[in-house]
């Protein structure tokens, strides 16, 4: 039974979904022992964590924590881990979580395993982690303690426990060096549109779309479904869409209820970003394209004809 410390990242009063998944992993690894959660500044989010498996919530409050400062958070995490004599430190495998855990590990002179899908307590502790965006798994041993790791997104389910945890605010010690890397400005995003990472429905176009203008029908279908528009890497490299729309290992990783992939062959690079989708509908001319072995539904045909037909049928059914 090792003391487990989980970094729970939050935004505007709500804990991040992957952080709750990290909490679930932490709880599993604690095996009945205490599950400590660290929250930075966000009191509203901190109070709900007992319901998700935390037994004690440490809320760090400091004047300089108004804007993100990853080295500062790393120090707070490390100092807390030392204070609690934590045996395992877990974070969410998001960009934010990975960088904080990496910095904490660097500070602590410890190894760090990112994007783990499974952990086995032992001597040494072993993890199974993602390589190649999930197309390959690595079994690795961590030869030092405490074990620092992040959990791969959407692999372990966040589990509501209905419990309650006390929130213990504290003021961490921070100095100038910890705040050298901090956000000094924020540029607001262009208003409107669903973000790809959070969208519940995504409609993507791939090489088969043929041109930037060819995305018209895709955008139309997405608008009808309230979906976000995505694309494959072939599209971004050709300059037809911006990289913000790219779904894939080096783009955005999506987890919608439904992913409609049009003219996308299904290369591993792309599927690594789409494997979080619950259901996948492929529209493709080639019935043997790699994507077909990952799809739940398929329409064999030219997307330039099929997609507008689907949009038309939706309008007809809605009586519009």
């Amino acid at each position: 039974m090792a003391t487990t410390l989980v970094l729970v990242t939050t935004s505007a009063g709500v804990a991040d979904e992957v952080a709750l998944q990290a909490l679930a992993l932490g709880r599993r690894l604690a095996a009945g022992g205490p599950v400590h959660a660290l929250v930075i500044a966000d009191e509203a989010a901190a109070t709900g964590l007992g319901a998700w498996g935390a037994t004690e919530v440490h809320l760090a409050r400091h004047a300089e924590l108004g804007s993100p400062a990853p080295d500062a958070v790393a120090r707070i995490l490390h100092d807390l881990a030392l204070r609690l004599e934590a045996g395992i430190v877990v974070g969410p495998g998001t960009e934010a979580g990975n960088t904080i855990l990496a910095r904490a590990a660097a500070r602590a002179n410890l190894p760090f395993a990112a994007n783990c899908v499974d952990v086995t307590i032992g001597d040494p502790l072993t993890v199974t982690r993602l390589r190649w965006g999930g197309s390959l798994l690595e079994e690795a041993a961590i030869h030092a303690g405490p074990a620092m790791l992040t959990v791969a997104p959407h692999v372990i389910a966040a589990t509501p426990t209905g419990g309650v945890a006390a929130v213990a605010p504290f003021t961490p010690e921070l100095d100038e060096a910890d705040l050298a890397v901090r956000v000094v400005d924020r540029i607001a995003a262009a208003a409107g549109g669903v973000t790809l990472a959070e969208a519940k429905v995504v409609v993507s176009g791939g090489r088969g779309v043929g041109s930037a203008d060819g995305f018209g029908p895709i955008e139309e279908l997405a608008a009808l479904l309230g979906a976000a528009v995505g694309c494959s890497r072939a599209v971004t490299i050709s300059g037809w869409r911006s990289h913000t729309a790219q779904v894939g290992q080096t783009g955005t990783k999506i987890a919608p209820n439904l992913y409609i992939a049009c003219g996308i062959s299904g290369a591993t690079q792309h599927m690594a970003g789409a494997k979080g989708a619950k259901k996948l509908l492929a529209v493709n001319k080639d019935a043997e394209a790699p994507i077909m072995s990952a799809a739940d539904y398929a329409v064999i045909g030219d997307l330039h004809q099929v997609v507008p037909a689907i949009s038309a049928e939706i309008r007809r059914v809605r009586g519009a």
Partner: protein
């Protein structure tokens, strides 16, 4: 000797000096340009070259692809040849009315020929004007029409003044030739005979000078206009490629004798033109036959092979002086040539070309348009990195994964699942023939059916063959046609090494592009093999009785692939197979005049702007009334199937091998019924 001779002789010599001088100055410029051109290896094969001169130039063979213009040009061309001596005669006659070429000037047979061929010229000019002003064919759009009219007017006026001169000679009785042998001149003489003698004498002098001056003016006009072709076509046709038409000339990147800044990466400015490209451009007659045959132009794109050649020619002439001045010495000015793309040829025009070769085939004067376009692409891709973005993905995939779709090489045997084929591993003994599968059949579900059929037939016939599987890399054809010669050469060397290690001597392939590249282009990289197209091998097996297809009566129309029928002259064997399994129905645009499916020139990976080439061909095939469209190429299979679906016709597209294996299966099902041997 006339009293006036003391004036006319030196006067004429002065006139001759001036006009001839102007002609020679311009001719010297053009010769210096060509001598400054970069190298192009065009030696060897003397018998073939000579035969081509005789048949192609003297016999005007390609001109007869269009019968009426062919007749017109034959009249003008042979008229010009036969009338050549009359030029000297008229020059002599201008100096002294009694002078002519000794002996020839007195021959009746010669003056008869002159009269007849001169009438021929006038008929030719009349036909030409009728075509140009009456029919106004589309192929002349973009040509310099006024220049063409001027040339015709020169020809007509020179001929008419010749008749007037001969006629006035006869009327005056000063002709050296027997007039009864010159019916037309005689008739003209009859019209003039009523004039008073002094007037007639003055007229005769006047008209011979006008005639001579017209000739001299025409002479100077020649090197400044497309009429230059009359002098240059002899060279251009002689030096046309005699080795495989489908072979592109390789670039050399690692010649230690060539300093880095002198390496030729393609056509950036006129300073990069090879001498053959320059002569090509100078020979262009602006006839537009290439434009008419071009599938890109036909489907509404900007590409016109004629306009490409004219654009390059015009820029060559415009900047040639500056280029020669710079080449004169290291202390001289540096040549800042304008980039040919976009100055002479627009950016997207370069990419419209599918390298089908219809233009080269139609061209009566030996221009090789594909060389120009690919060389323009080579510079755009390898130096400027200025090309359609979707092509970048394909080129990167080729480099990294050795196939243009970025798929895993280990998947190259997936298509053969269940066929129990021998996959050649390093160290294995070489098979009799290596079945080179190609990337399309390996990775495309529609294209692979032809390969599966071929494999089954080869097994049935007991042919000892194997496939390379994951060791087969793309031949590099899409890279080379797109202009990435560097990636092509790296793939070519890789493949030649693999084939050499396995000691392969004979290769069969279903893909005409692989066929063309391995047979015609790999020898430049040390790869020498006997290469056959699958239709050739299968036809041989059927002839030998090793395959027994049942005859069929269903209508089948066969689409000739450009790389097979035009670039490589394989036309008969696929037809043998189609005839053996069905009822052949031919399309109008067939054999060497076949119409592309649209996939060539790396277009399988590039976006097509404007109308669809494949749909156009699908329309043509559907119009034959056949139920099946037979193809012999995996690209054609996919493109034409797309085309057929695009126009909504019910035509079924199948590889010839698939039709054959179905016929063999049918033949087996009726064991009592065997086709006649």
């Amino acid at each position: 000797m006339d009293a006036g001779a003391i004036v006319t002789v030196p006067l004429f010599i002065l006139v001759l000096y001036v006009f001839l001088g102007a002609f020679l100055l311009r001719a010297a410029y053009l010769v210096r340009l060509v001598r400054a051109g970069r190298a192009s290896n065009r030696t060897g094969d003397l018998p073939v070259r000579t035969a081509r001169e005789v048949v192609g130039v003297l016999g005007q063979s390609k001109l007869f692809l269009r019968p009426i213009p062919g007749v017109m040009h034959l009249l003008l061309f042979w008229g010009f040849l036969v009338l050549l001596p009359t030029i000297a005669m008229s020059f002599l006659g201008a100096m002294n009315r009694h002078w002519t070429i000794p002996w020839l000037g007195e021959q009746g047979w010669f003056v008869l020929m002159v009269d007849l061929f001169a009438v021929g010229v006038l008929v030719g000019v009349a036909i030409a004007f009728t075509i140009r002003l009456g029919l106004r064919p589309v192929r002349f759009v973009g040509s310099y029409l006024q220049v063409a009219y001027n040339i015709l007017l020169f020809e007509a006026s020179i001929t008419i003044t010749l008749f007037l001169w001969h006629g006035s000679q006869v009327a005056l009785g000063i002709n050296e030739f027997p007039p009864e042998w010159a019916p037309v001149s005689n008739a003209v003489a009859g019209l003039l005979s009523s004039a008073p003698v002094p007037a007639l004498e003055g007229f005769e002098r006047g008209v011979v000078w006008v005639h001579a001056l017209l000739i001299l003016a025409f002479l100077v006009y020649i090197p400044y206009t497309k009429h230059l072709h009359t002098l240059v076509v002899w060279f251009n046709v002689f030096f046309e490629r005699t080795r495989a038409r489908g072979r592109l000339e390789p670039l050399v990147f690692d010649d230690p004798a060539v300093p880095e800044d002198q390496i030729r990466f393609g056509l950036a400015t006129i300073a990069d033109m090879t001498w053959k490209q320059m002569v090509d451009d100078m020979t262009c007659t602006e006839c537009g036959r290439c434009q008419d045959a071009c599938p890109a132009f036909f489907t509404g794109k900007n590409l016109s092979p004629k306009l490409v050649v004219m654009g390059l020619r015009d820029q060559l002439y415009r900047e040639g002086h500056a280029m020669l001045a710079a080449a004169a010495g290291p202390a001289g000015p540096i040549f800042q040539g304008q980039p040919l793309v976009p100055t002479a040829v627009a950016d997207d025009t370069v990419w419209d070309c599918v390298t089908c070769g219809a233009c080269v085939r139609e061209c009566p004067v030996g221009i090789e348009h594909i060389d120009h376009i690919v060389d323009l692409r080579r510079n755009l891709v390898m130096v400027d990195s200025r090309f359609p973005a979707e092509g970048a993905t394909m080129l990167r995939d080729l480099e990294r994964t050795s196939n243009p779709w970025g798929r895993s090489q280990t998947e190259r045997t997936d298509w053969a699942a269940g066929l129990d084929l021998r996959v050649l591993e390093p160290g294995d003994p070489a098979p009799d023939v290596l079945f080179w599968v190609g990337c399309a059949p390996a990775f495309d579900e529609r294209a692979r059916i032809g390969a599966i059929s071929t494999a089954r037939l080869l097994k049935e016939a007991g042919v000892d063959f194997a496939i390379l599987g994951p060791r087969e890399s793309c031949t590099g054809d899409p890279a080379r046609r797109m202009g990435d010669e560097y990636t092509f050469q790296s793939l070519a060397r890789q493949n030649v090494e693999t084939l050499g290690e396995s000691k392969i001597t004979k290769i069969v392939t279903t893909c005409p592009h692989c066929f063309n590249t391995i047979a015609n282009e790999y020898p430049d990289f040390g790869g020498h093999y006997e290469v056959v197209h699958h239709t050739q091998l299968l036809a041989e097996l059927v002839r030998d009785g090793r395959l027994a297809p049942a005859a069929g009566t269903d209508g089948v129309t066969y689409h000739d692939s450009c790389y097979l029928a035009r670039h490589n002259d394989v036309r008969a064997e696929p037809r043998e197979l189609v005839a053996a399994v069905g009822r052949p129905i031919e399309m109008a645009r067939r054999e060497e005049r076949t119409f592309c499916c649209g996939a060539g020139g790396a277009h399988m990976w590039l976006e097509e702007r404007g109308g669809q080439i494949n749909e156009e061909r699908a329309r043509e095939a559907t119009a034959t009334g056949a139920g099946t469209l037979a193809v012999a190429c995996p690209f054609c299979t996919v493109m034409l199937d797309d085309g057929v679906q695009g126009i909504g016709s019910g035509l079924v597209v199948k590889d010839v091998a698939t039709l054959l294996v179905e016929a063999v299966d049918r033949g087996r099902a009726l064991p009592e019924v065997r086709p006649d041997p």
